[in-house]
């Protein structure tokens, strides 16, 4: 169950951001997960209430974007979406491929409710 450890690390990061922005509450958290990250979206969702209890993010909605496993063929350069345990080029059968998406484990964005009038978009 390393999802709990990952969830705790997520809450730490979100708390730091919320603190820096002087947020009142965290409305939602969006994370990007690839199948090759080794993290199960469902387990992460189950771990979230445990990890976020007593934190500013305890009522936040956890949104998980499951990202496709995508490879580029080193032989024919085709890019394809493939199953996570079959990283073989479906076009030409070449197995020497490069993973271009699918191992992400990213905190992508946080939606905060701040006391002051909201700022539309800022880069962190």
């Amino acid at each position: 169950m390393h999802e709990l450890a990952i969830c705790q690390s997520l809450i730490d990061q979100v708390e730091a951001i919320a603190h820096e922005r002087q947020a009142v509450t965290v409305v939602s958290i969006t994370i990007g997960l690839g199948a090759l990250s080794g993290v199960e979206p469902q387990l992460l969702k189950h771990a979230y209430p445990v990890a976020s209890a007593d934190s500013i993010a305890k009522d936040a909605e956890l949104l998980i974007d499951e990202l496709p496993t995508r490879i580029r063929c080193t032989s024919c350069s085709t890019e394809s979406d493939v199953p996570p345990n079959k990283l073989v080029c479906p076009e030409c059968g070449e197995w020497r491929t490069t993973l271009i998406s699918g191992d992400e484990l990213l905190l992508m964005s946080v939606e905060l409710q701040t006391a002051e009038p909201a700022v539309a978009q800022r880069d962190y």
Partner: protein, 285 residues
Amino acid sequence: MCNTCGCNITPGNEELIRPGGKLATTESGNEAVTVLHNLLHENDHMASHNREHFDAHNVLAINLMSSPGAGKTSLLEATIQQLDPDLRIAVIEGDLETENDAERIRKHGVKAIQIATGSACHLDAHMIHDALHNLDLSEYDVLFIENVGNLVCPASFDLGQHQNVALLSVPEGDDKPAKYPVMFRTADLVMISKTDLLPYLDDFNPERTRRYLQEIASTAPIIELSSKNGEGMSDWTAWIGQQVAERKRHLEAHPALSAHAHHTHDHEHEHEHQHIHSHAHSHHR
């Protein structure tokens, strides 16, 4: 992955964060903060710090991963017997409970530190960092980290190692790379262990393992080995020797790596401890 050059933006997520994408705006007037941090940012930061320690002392760190009972400790025992005696070895053992594995290693006169993870299913970079406080790295050339027996969780946590080795023992079946692609994709070397059992378990076909590894685009070399009858041991010790030599060449070519680590060590260290401290503090509030 770093958080400065945009390499976190992959074809899988770029459409989400492009202007007008669903992460760029929020309907209810709340503040949307784009982050794009790896969730294991803190672990990865600590792992880089560990790697600096290793590089500063010319230590090659090898992370051994497998399911429980694949023969990691037996492999280490055989390795101690057969590795070039000029290479000084230390071992960090990770298990949920007991000092058993560390004691097995110590019987061979080799320094072993046991990490008992309690209920944690993997080692993380902070546990390794704590263990390094009990290890004078200047006395060693190769550090083996025997991870918790588990084909799932350890794959997600960088410890600061230079090489990942995944063991797959013959009784487990030849299709493990297809079942656990995340683990086997991280491996720089795959070892098929307990090959002395091949005559009895004839449904295990090493060729099939090879094919499954290709299907996850793994270019890792494969060694078939039995720590019991010694088959493949010379390939393994030769591979270690080769990694040590390559590491030395790399550090000689980039003297700043080890020099820099020496120079910044104290500062970095202080920073880390402060960091940990302030975290502990915020949890207590």
